[in-house]
């Protein structure tokens, strides 16, 4: 039980949301923008991220409740809060946490002065947690079945996945022509721990039907499967180590391996009309270390104890029958998990000449001398029940030669008024950036349904140096 507390607490405290990096996307003065579009129009002679500080991002989101709803110190009974949340949630509501930490990153131009080809690489750690509100099962736990005669409690409401992994990546992008930038990135995943239970089905039913032998008709049909890798060891009584240390060690040195790809492009219809698209994390992990899969599969109809007066020496053990009908099985088969695939696209219109373009030509050519850009972005991410979709409008401006600003307005399942702000500035050759999502909620962050922030520090030597 303690462990469950810990997981819930971590989920709420680390929570950053939805993995949509709408502020970073196409914010090309930040080299990390090529992590969300390997075909972003980024250029440099070389750069490296300040280790551990180049990219720190946290996203937390919960579509039907906030940390405040659950943990506010306001005298309302905790059980009432839980009940309220369950009542106002649907089985499509979810809690999502994504955290990334770049350990190192860098990039360089290849092929000499005039070349427009770039390589970038790095290693980052990622934690991802997604759980749908198990509404029906929560009702069954909170209220029981007495007041729900005739209702089938849906077992598919139990739907979660979580993973800790490290990602080693190498990307390449090239300005094929004045109009087109193409890029791709290969990734090796090393997953330290994975738990996945996303394809469950079945129901728990109590009804009253005429013609049945006893008062209720009661059936459990269960097709429940919980797959885990890198976790089984910790659940054993003999385990004496430290989970955190072991998971970290496994994540970097002894994980389940996987492969993935990103691809992207930037295309200029005109100098000031730009289109981009990217697909990120098209990949899988072959879960192969410390595997344990639990299944509860079967159907059982319970009618009650039934004396047999004709043959009194034939007792029936109802509980044993249940265990036989829906056995708990443990399997040790390797399995494959797909990474959540992200798709981004944007259309951007630029206007207003940059005052800095003429006096100094050191700005990245991608700026093309415009001070302002407006446009729209689309984000789609695969999720077990239905894809997560977000639409963003943005405004970008070069405030000074070395300072870029981007504001976003995003509409998604978590919020319809998510305003994000991002700043990227250069001090000498140091690039510092900070991106904050859902700024309206920061007046009381505990009431936010989603919060995301990202910051980082890089050392960049520009293309023109």
């Amino acid at each position: 039980m303690r462990k469950i507390h810990l997981i819930i607490l971590i989920a709420f405290q680390l929570s950053s949301f939805a993995q949509n990096k709408e502020i970073l996307y196409n914010f090309t003065s930040i080299p990390q923008s090529s992590l969300v579009n390997p075909g972003a129009d980024v250029s440099y002679k070389y750069y490296f991220g300040i280790p551990l500080l180049s990219g720190v991002s946290v996203n937390l989101g919960s579509s039907s409740f906030s940390a405040y709803d659950l943990f506010a110190n306001n005298g309302i009974d905790f059980n009432d809060k839980v009940r309220d949340i369950v009542n106002k949630s649907s089985d499509k509501d979810k809690t999502h946490v994504n955290q990334q930490l770049e350990l190192f990153s860098g990039g360089f131009r290849v092929g000499g002065e005039r070349s427009k080809s770039y390589i970038s690489f790095g290693l980052y750690q990622e934690f991802d947690f997604l759980m749908y509100v198990p509404k029906d099962l929560a009702i069954l736990g909170l209220d029981g079945n007495r007041d729900y005669i005739g209702k089938a409690f849906d077992i598919s409401d139990f739907n979660l996945r979580a993973e800790v992994l490290s990602v080693l990546h190498v990307g390449f992008h090239k300005k094929v022509s004045d109009k087109l930038v193409l890029g791709g990135r290969a990734k090796i995943y090393s997953s330290g721990a994975n738990i996945s239970s996303t394809r469950n089905s079945g129901f728990i039913y109590t009804g009253q039907t005429a013609g049945t032998p006893n008062i209720y008709s009661q059936t459990i049909a269960s097709n429940l499967e919980i797959r885990s890798s890198g976790i089984a060891t910790f659940t054993k009584d003999e385990y004496r180590g430290s989970e955190t240390e072991d998971i970290l060690h496994n994540t970097f040195f002894n994980g389940s391996l996987g492969l993935g790809f990103d691809a992207g492009l930037t295309y200029y219809f005109k100098d000031n009309l730009q289109f981009t698209a990217s697909i990120v994390d098209l990949g899988f992990v072959r879960q192969s270390k410390d595997i344990e899969t639990l299944t509860y599969k079967g159907t059982y109809t319970y009618e009650g104890v039934n004396p047999n007066f004709e043959n009194p020496d034939a007792p029936r053990n109802v509980l044993a029958e249940f265990d036989k009908a829906i056995p708990r099985d443990t399997l040790y088969n390797k399995y494959t998990t797909w990474r959540p695939v992200k798709f981004y696209s944007s259309l951007q219109y630029s206007f207003g000449e940059s005052r800095y373009g003429e006096e100094c030509n050191c700005r990245a050519p991608s700026k093309r001398g415009y001070a302002n850009s407006i446009g729209g972005q689309l984000f789609i991410m695969s999720m077990p029940k239905q894809p997560f979709v977000a639409v963003t409008a943005f405004y970008k401006r070069s405030i000074f030669e070395n300072l870029d600003f981007k504001a976003t307005y995003t509409f998604d399942a978590y919020s319809s008024k998510n305003i994000g702000l991002g700043l990227s500035g250069n001090i000498g050759k140091f690039n510092i950036y900070a991106l904050v999502d859902n700024v309206l909620e920061y007046k009381d962050v505990s009431k936010a349904n989603s919060v995301a922030f990202q910051f980082g520090l890089n050392f960049i030597v520009p293309d023109s140096d």
Binding site: L142, D143, V305, N308
Partner: protein, 186 residues
């Protein structure tokens, strides 16, 4: 002016994060107050015996008996968390003889913990269904109930015209249990 702004940038960024730190007072220890109080209903026991299975000679006597395992309280979940139980019994008799049913709760040593006796008169046309008063198990009676590992059923018939293989009617038992749980974290 430009330079000034750049110098001020770290401060501005700092302010953004300070701004971000505003939060209502949260108390995560509340999770220890979590207390689930679900109420579950379930079938308990049933039978449906036709009159022609009860062969007798017309005297009052015990004519059928059986015992069945009832291992619910071997489950820690029920043993620890059940705070109150109710049992509802219902008999329907369409046989023209009166019956009496004993429901017996046995413990591990085969000792009878409790006997619940249900009487029903002979069928004389019309409806002959009795819903008995709810048996409520709380406190001491609940503690005794939790020792149950076996349920016994004893059917006694009152005197009357003997039954044979062509007698009509049935004796039916239907019953349910309501379990009041209290599940506390830790």
């Amino acid at each position: 002016m430009k330079l000034n702004f750049i110098r001020r940038m770290p401060k501005i960024l700092g302010a953004v994060f300070l701004f971000a730190s505003c939060s209502s007072d949260l108390d995560f220890d509340q999770i220890d107050d979590l207390k689930l109080e679900p109420v579950y209903v379930a079938n308990l026991a049933y039978f449906d015996v036709p009159a022609n299975k009860f062969a007798d000679n017309g005297n009052a006597e015990e004519i059928a008996a059986d015992e069945q395992p009832f291992k619910v309280f071997k489950q820690k979940f029920f043993k620890d968390n059940l705070v109150k139980a109710e049992c509802d019994f219902e008999l329907e008799n369409t046989i023209n003889r009166a019956f009496s049913l004993d429901v017996l709760l046995f413990d591990n040593n085969n000792q009878v913990l409790e006997t619940i006796t249900l009487d029903i008169p002979a069928y004389s046309g019309g409806s002959n269904i009795i819903k008995y008063q709810t048996e409520v198990f709380e406190n001491q009676r609940l503690a005794v109930l939790k020792q149950t590992v076996k349920i016994g059923f004893t059917v006694r018939i009152a005197s009357g015209a003997p039954l044979n293989s062509s007698s009509s009617g049935n004796l039916k038992l239907r019953s349910s249990a309501t379990a009041y749980m209290l599940i506390e974290v830790e």
